[in-house]
């Protein structure tokens, strides 16, 4: 009996057919999560001193003029709330990527934060530009592969969200 096109594709698609590929996607997700988790350590309240230094680099070595203006006139004068926002945002990216929950949403948030960081420090002397390009590419990979479905909570909960009625499960299914 001839196999359907979908069945053939399912057999040959390495993302769904290969356990090794699924493990590797999970490893990439956890690795990117640990990047954010470890780097949440030096966003230290109440003064967020180290973070302020990197943020000021966006003014001293501007990458994009409007972004440098935003840092100088909006962020630096209100630095404490900005520091808390950064700590909460980056802790959350690390947390959700670690457990693989709503992974595609948090991959997008990670992309946004990576772009913000890149626009602040790309031209700072001593920075390796490819660090930030690789960060961006890693998050694009997490989004494209819906990495939480590989050994993450999205993989455990998604089928239930798809089967459940109501807007919240439907939203969570889309974000996973």
């Amino acid at each position: 009996m001839p196999m359907s096109t979908q069945a053939v594709a399912g057999r040959t698609d390495p993302l769904t057919a290969s356990r090794l590929s699924r493990v590797l996607i999970g490893v990439v997700r956890v690795g990117v999560a640990l990047l954010w988790i470890q780097n949440a350590a030096w966003k230290a309240p109440p003064d967020f001193g180290a973070l302020r230094g990197f943020t000021e680099d966006g003014v001293k070595h501007p990458v994009l003029a409007p972004w440098a203006w935003l840092i100088q006139h909006v962020i630096l004068p209100n630095f404490t709330p900005f520091g808390w926002l950064t700590l909460i945002l980056e802790s959350s990216i690390g947390a959700f990527l670690l457990i693989g929950l709503a992974t595609r949403l948090w991959a997008l948030v990670g992309i946004g934060q990576t772009i913000a960081i890149t626009l602040s420090v790309l031209y700072t002397p001593g920075e390796w530009a490819w660090s930030y390009f690789l960060m961006l590419l890693a998050h694009l990979t997490l989004f494209a592969t819906a990495a939480g479905r590989c050994y993450g909570l999205d993989g455990v909960l998604r089928a239930r969200w798809l089967a459940a009625p109501g807007p919240l499960p439907r939203l969570l299914a889309r974000l996973s």
Partner: protein
């Protein structure tokens, strides 16, 4: 009569056990300093991951949904307290932002599992 412990039947319970194991592994990588110290834990922080990890593991193994929820709430509360007290003398955990992120992950994960309705 056999005394062999049954493997948790529900994937939700198995996931809770996995999060418990992740918490215990956090104790191993929670050394201060070093390139591979991904999560930083103070003395009382070790207690949180050890006790929380054991509770999550037991809750998942025995299918105790209420204990999954309670442990998740505990991790979430510890994360909030840690975030508010980073660098202060009154900080009982001695951690930093990495501790907050790690406990946030465990708390949200266990709560998501505990709040998901069981289907038979």
């Amino acid at each position: 009569m056999t005394t062999r412990a049954a493997i948790p039947r529900s994937d939700l319970d198995r996931a809770a056990v996995a999060l418990g194991v992740v918490s215990l592994v956090g104790a191993l990588v929670g050394r201060p300093g070093g390139t591979f110290a991904f999560v930083h834990l103070g003395h009382h922080g070790y207690l949180v991951v050890l006790i929380g990890g054991l509770l999550a593991g037991v809750a998942g193994w025995l299918g105790l949904r209420w204990l999954v929820l309670a442990t998740g709430l505990g991790f979430l509360a510890a994360a909030v307290v840690q975030a508010l007290l980073i660098g202060r003398r009154s900080d009982p955990f001695g951690g930093d932002g990495s501790t907050v992120a790690f406990w946030l992950a465990l708390g949200i994960g266990l709560l998501a599992l505990g709040l998901t309705p069981r289907t038979r």
